[in-house]
């Protein structure tokens, strides 16, 4: 079993961190893992993406043409990666700032209004955890408990008081994800 995922959005949205949490959760489940960032000059505002491959066997290429799961968090990423979802795969997007809906009919499409919810919850930094919660609902590639352990590992100890807020966001994301196609 191998799952090939790409998460793409603006720098500053927590794209790389979200991938890292997934990778750590995969590690805890004993999977083979490759976490491959686009490592260009992507700070806040630029585009950022990360490929995460979770597999029961040795992983070959870290650079992929097509993905089982594509998570897009801005319009440029939607334009770039919608065509690269495998037939029958999953596309998950945050509606904020999107100027069009996905066009593909041969894939499952899910929408999550995570930017709006993060604002409503007054916790904009937990945006990526909302998205991750939504992702795990439609594609339970790793267990929620392992995600929380993964988060604990990736978050510096001085920020551990934020763990409950992140878990709340993760759970909220599970509720607000909606199937579109």
């Amino acid at each position: 079993m191998k799952t090939e995922i790409i998460i793409a959005g603006f720098g500053g949205q927590g794209v790389l961190s979200m991938g890292k949490i997934l990778a750590y959760a995969g590690l805890l489940q004993g999977k083979e893992i490759t976490w491959m960032p686009a490592y260009g000059p992507e700070q806040r505002g630029g585009t950022a993406n990360v490929t995460v491959i979770l597999s029961d066997e040795r992983i070959s290429s870290p650079i992929l043409q097509q993905f089982d799961i594509v998570v897009v968090l801005n319009q440029p990423s939607m334009d770039k990666f919608e065509p690269r979802v495998k037939a029958g795969g999953i596309l998950l997007y945050d509606s904020n700032g999107m100027t069009r809906k996905p066009k593909r009919k041969d894939i499952s499409v899910y929408r999550i209004d995570a930017t709006d919810m993060a604002t409503e919850m007054n916790a904009p930094k937990t945006f990526n955890m909302l998205v991750l919660g939504g992702l795990l609902t439609v594609a339970p590639v790793v267990a929620v408990e392992d995600v929380m352990s993964g988060l604990k590992k990736t978050l510096p100890e001085r920020h551990h008081h934020l763990l409950p807020a992140n878990e709340a966001a993760l759970r909220k994301g599970m509720e607000i994800i909606e199937k579109e196609n």
Binding site: E32, W35, P62, I63, Q65
Partner: protein, 358 residues
């Protein structure tokens, strides 16, 4: 059981170096390998093992600090990326001539010139054919996973000390930046001064009860310099005989062989999967040592396959060594991308079919 960790390739190099008893690191930051020094600075090994970590004022300074440290018999290394490694070439030539063990890490990026920060393998010629002036070689290891970044750091040091010669870890931005599982090597303490004196009797360890050890790459008399050259060549012949390393994936029944190293070997494994799905019997030969090159193995395979294709992040450099090995027996083709662009497995298979599978 040793703990499994998740980390970047660059971080794995730093952790492995501390654990294998490294005495010192001298470097100057450059993307995409800055995490090597960053990790060392974060780990503060000077407080635990006593290892020195120093950000030099330039690449030239860094490689000459390595020259000095290696001359003292210390286990020292430097790391950089393509433009920075070009700056180090003079020092590397001196170290090779002075027959000192050390490790140089090159996490390659797109060139020529200042180029780009994206991955590349276009420093192959520089690494395996000399790079600096004069007739010398480096032992060049090409890791293709984060685990190998750790393992080959240890191996590269071992080989450097076995042959008193500089070795190089030739990685690229992909292997340096990606995170994978890794089991770090066991912890080995740094050698004591006495152990260094015993293991490196040539080192400048302080003249106590012996005649002076002189380390130099200068010999104004031509005959003396010729003897140095011949001695180096005898050593290189030993390395060629004993240290060739490679990995094969599904080569036994293969009609065609893809030759690729480092990150391209990972892409190559996927090409093999895709080709086999279409009924094309493709195998992958992955040189682990780029010098010494697995020439004999390629010669052996050339007698049983219909052709080779080299896959590289360059305009085609290693392909020349494949052609030298094959020596016209079967076609040798090339496919690659340049300047930081990375070929996908799918497009590589299309190229393979166009160029080779007739």
């Amino acid at each position: 059981m040793e703990e499994i960790k998740l980390m970047k390739g660059n971080e794995a190099i730093a952790h492995a170096a501390i654990r294998c008893g490294c005495d010192g690191y001298f470097g100057y930051p450059i993307t995409p390998q800055s995490e090597v020094m960053e990790t060392l600075m974060k780990e503060k090994p000077w407080e635990t093992t006593g290892m020195v970590v120093l950000q030099a004022e330039s690449e030239l300074a860094a490689i000459n600090m390595v020259y000095g440290g290696a001359g003292c018999g210390k286990k020292v290394f430097t790391s950089s990326s393509s433009p920075g490694v070009s700056l180090k070439q003079e020092g590397i030539s001196y170290i090779a001539c002075a027959e000192l063990p050390c490790l140089i890490v090159n996490v390659m990026r797109g060139g020529p010139g200042l180029g780009t920060i994206q991955p590349s393998q276009a420093d192959y010629f520089q690494a395996v054919k000399g790079g600096g002036h004069g007739d010398y070689r480096l032992i060049v290891l090409a890791p293709s996973s984060v685990q190998e970044m750790a393992d080959f750091t240890v191996l590269a040091f071992d080989l450097a000390f076995k042959y008193n010669t500089p070795s190089m870890l030739l990685a690229d931005g992909i292997i340096g930046q990606m995170m994978e599982k890794v089991v770090l090597p066991p912890f080995v303490p740094r050698r004591t001064d006495e152990e260094v004196r015993n293991q490196c009797p040539w080192a400048t360890t302080g003249k106590v009860g012996r005649k002076s050890n002189v380390i130099t790459s200068l010999a104004l008399e031509a005959e003396v310099m010729q003897e140095t050259n011949l001695r180096l060549q005898r050593k290189y012949a030993q390395i060629v005989e004993h240290e060739v390393r490679f990995e094969e994936v599904q080569c036994d029944d293969a009609d065609y062989i893809l030759v690729a190293f480092g990150s391209c070997a990972r892409i190559g494994e996927k090409v093999v999967e895709l080709a086999r799905n279409e009924g094309i019997k493709l195998g992958l030969l992955r040189p682990i040592t780029l010098w010494p090159f697995p020439t004999k193995e390629i010669q052996r395979l050339a007698k049983q396959v219909k052709g080779f294709m080299s896959l590289e992040l360059s305009v085609g450099q290693m392909v020349e060594d494949v052609r030298l090995a094959v020596n016209g027996l079967v076609p040798v083709e090339f496919y690659g991308r340049q300047g930081g662009v990375v070929p996908l497995a799918e497009e590589t298979l299309v190229a393979l079919k166009q160029k080779l599978v007739k």
